[in-house]
Subunit: 352 residues, 4 copies
């Protein structure tokens, strides 16, 4: 909401408006437009907004009080159809080329990671994902190799010339992770860890923001707005399934919600078909569906030896399974006016 | 579960097993295999099944007690990869050709229906949907033109040579609706109206079974099994969105659940992108996503004059919007090894 | 919405308003207030309602168009604080006395039912529940003893002087079930089986309407409105758990939703702690919580031999477990200004 | 899972078992029991656990491999019926006395807080809640007075002799907040901020752990286990509503889930009737229901001037509304064998 005070407004009139806004639960940002005081704040609740708008317009000294189109102004398109292209290392995401980010769930060892990444690179994958810091529902679960994992990731990625995405869990680790990786990931469970959002908003690397399993699209976009208002608009949204009563899949992949997020923002939107379904036999279908839905990319789990995967083996594709996906992904991307030029199957089986 | 009794089993031994099964809450179907009594019943709860299996195997006179692979045996594939093709009028569904069933939500008048259907037929649509009996959340809502609507539907469909799908709400209307339409639809709110399921299972027309908004995939397939066990295996499943906390869309289209239903059965699976999203601006993306997900067809709302639609105008495509969808649908269908030969845009704008 | 036309309105003006309402998807009920035509219809969608209201007010011949407070006008309180007391046999429900309806899930045999009911009657239970027609998720599940079950229920209930509640599944069975039972029950899966709702609305017995597991409170109340608009306002609402992601309980008992239904209607509201939790170890706590929440009664599963129960044994209380509940239920009822005078523990253990 | 190796096990046999465990995705904690190596790790997935158990038992050098009863061993009761009493300042929680923690959502000013707390103290409230650091869905929302808020809270609480609960959002603020408050609160959005859980687990103040709106009971208890395994078992669980499709209330208060958490742990369990319902007209009914459900306390929003509340006014009780709750709370507490001796209405109206 933008409140403009008249040049003739007295200090006490200005102060009264500021107090009114604070009473409603908001901290206005103050600015000046020539002689005029300007107060900026956002009120997400529609009925409150309409009431406040009316009250403030009636206060002495107020020239105008106007309502923004949406509660997330920075990440929304600033003009009709604006799409932001975000670079991860040298890879652009959000443009014509569909982006495939693949890799194992966790970094387990240098040998294992190199084995997977070398083969992904051969297939044309330009950006890889792998976790050094692992959120685990149980305190007894595997928590990742941490700093040693970051070192392995950077070393292997440099060897094979790929960009890297890895998760950060702790505000105190942001500088370190930013030093080692090309793109930071905020996991689903931290989507409303606002301190962490602000911290990644203050550094210069792109951020993949996963949707929380219990978060509405609006809340997801407001979480992105937290990052953006700190100055970092290099955000990629990633839908990874929401919590529902359906138990045949781990979560419910909300492709319509992801497509809606793409309508409401200028940001690229990815889908994670692995964590959302939790079933290897559905990952392929959901990957192709995500391209059909007009999304900008995939974050997908692939492991050279899925049965040895430290975590989540049930949903991890083998390299062979991943390779057979390339042809339909390319065909469907072209069918919806996108391209997927980087990937190319190498084996005879996959191309036949 | 299939229990086979020994040829030497005494009548009282047989009776004891029957009583045991009934005590568990099941009504066994009795059959004979030569000299052997065979009892068939299904126990969906896994832990109960394991317990009962063990107890029955230990009873005198029992030769074997074996567990079926799944609680829905009739609709499950009977051999690896079996896919059933179901005919609606002369249209096959579930084979290579992707099926598009389009039309208005309700039958409003002969003129209005003819206007929409004539244009759909020109675009190549071979099967249309329109409601004569309308379920309405409120008793004050529009309930449909009922028998007069059926007459209009048949008359218009014959004129333009298309097959028809329409909903039946009441067990007592099944014969009448079956007389007028080529395919019956069971709406989401009646998915567990078991008497209605049995009734449509006893007649000879194909049935589209919509998933209930609060139903798990397993329950949906068991509802199909109700129809199938009455003798009618011409069932098309249709995913139309489940109830979740997300309020940006009317329901959450569960494409992964639909793809899972396709893995677990031999039946064709459709998606309804209109009722699931409730938003015209997402219908196109979700239609294309459904093709990408490997589903067999769409049930989609199209109206010559959406703003005059009796119901659900917010989600209804105009004919122009529908026509622009044809090209990406065809391209993506080919990308996943399917075809969509029947449809063809007619206007220059849609093909450019 | 109530539209009043001027006495001077011409027939074509009246007809134009009627057509306008039908175009919006509603079938207006016509009435007369002296010289004035009155049209009544309900539009649940708020934004549509506001638009239509404005448009109709601008039409020639219209005197007023007013918005009802709520979409469910018949079941809503007609004056502040109105509470309806509904009788099941000779038992009143919705007044000061808290109502406990107990009994087995299914009628299994005359002996078994008599055993349970005789003991419940000894404890002071005045109304019993037991199913003759059983909805079963699987077609292979137990479907109830049907007409024979009704006969057993009536015979046993008469012997012990208790009122009876039993479920009806099929519109064609309504007269028969109404002949045998004191109160009909509409199960959760039939909450939006509108034909069944209308049918029970046309007969003279009270109806317990269970909330569907995927139904919002608003939809539940509109389902009640379906019964009420047919002329039967003897409705008892029953919350039995909604579908959520939580899997530690079978469903999620929504006591706040039940309390909300009690605020929005004049009808008694019951809770079913058995089906909602699916766990015997939570039934007691949720029963007492329901009294604390201000609800009007319980529908609770009790069986003389729970381990022999045909269905749902995991949630069924034994008579001993039920008896130990009586003291806290009575104490809490008094704590919230209600009474539970009818029930009285008989054994020393339960009263110590 | 606890694996005990034989005294005779060779180093390479021990190493092989360690490697096996790590391959499954777990980091075993090593301990010694005399001559025996002991490995401790937890595997939450049941089917994996059974498989691993079998495999490890078959390895050379292994004496035994046993399965814990539950994945949350520290917070679970260590003997049948164990209940932990946790002290907040001088107030015990989890014993016979039911605990009521009340106060405003946010600390707004010293005057405003003193006004509310002085009156709560007069009614007998011994512990108050108020937020200095406020999580806000929108970056434009009120974020709290932060350190200044902590100072106000401590100063006012000392004046009126009450204990304090306040939220901590950032790992870096834990020492500061712990210095000022008697009990730390982890908000629903941070329930799986594992770094924050560990940090509050390493300090000496009790912690209220709110359930995440998208979290299963199991995940909630594992989050508590994170705190407990760092050494702090002074944890109070607080149910505050889960995300469901129901929109008549803000969230769905899951009292059965809360009662289940109380069965599965030794920890006190509170309910928050304010955030869960989001409606002042349901807060009273849900407060009394929580006592009836056997929970240990309430976390409830009360403000001397609710209409001036910075946040969430729609759900905040006035002091008068709070006071009228005292009588039914006391009566129901006694009805379920608890007491609420500390609270006492002061005004004639509330006691009449």
């Amino acid at each position: 909401m933008i409140v403009v005070l008249r040049p003739s407004a007295s200090p006490s009139e200005v102060e009264a408006v500021v107090q009114r806004v604070r009473l409603e639960g908001f901290q206005p940002q103050a600015a000046h437009d020539g002689d005029r005081h300007v107060l900026i704040f956002s009120c997400p609740d529609r009925s409150q907004r309409l009431r406040v708008l009316g009250q403030i317009r009636a206060m002495p000294g107020v020239e105008s009080a106007t309502e923004p189109a949406r509660p997330y102004e920075v990440v929304a398109p600033h003009y009709e159809g604006q799409r932001r292209e975000v670079s991860i290392g040298e890879i652009g995401c959000g443009g014509r080329e569909f982006t495939v980010i693949a890799g194992p769930c966790s970094i387990e060892s240098e040998e294992s990671l190199a084995l997977t990444i070398s083969q992904l690179a051969t297939l044309g994958v330009k950006a890889v994902r792998a976790g050094a810091y692992k959120p685990s529902t149980s305190p007894y679960g595997f928590q990742g190799l941490r700093k040693r994992g970051l070192e392995i990731l950077r070393s292997v990625a440099r060897e094979f010339g790929v960009a890297t995405v890895t998760e950060v869990l702790d505000v105190r680790d942001v500088p370190l992770v930013g030093e080692y990786a090309d793109c930071l990931q905020i996991g689903a469970r931290n989507m409303q860890n606002f301190e962490l959002l602000k911290e990644v908003g203050r550094q210069a690397k792109p951020v993949i923001l996963k949707r929380g399993p219990g978060a509405k699209v609006d809340e997801w976009l407001l979480a992105a707005e937290y990052i953006a208002t700190e100055g970092n608009l290099d955000i990629l949204l990633c839908e990874r399934g929401i919590r529902t009563f359906e138990s045949g899949t781990r979560n419910t992949l909300d492709l319509a919600g992801a497509a809606l997020a793409r309508l409401l923002t200028q940001l690229p939107v990815l889908a994670d078909p692995s964590h959302s379904t939790g079933r290897r036999d559905l990952v392929g279908a959901m990957s192709v569906a995500a391209v059909g839905a007009g999304l900008d990319g995939l974050l997908i789990e692939v492991h050279a030896e899925p049965s040895h995967s430290e975590k989540d083996g049930a949903q991890t594709l083998s390299l062979e399974e991943f390779e057979t996906l390339i042809r339909p992904l390319k065909a469907v991307a072209e069918g919806v006016g996108r391209s997927l030029d980087s990937l190319h199957p190498t084996s005879a089986a996959a191309t036949s």
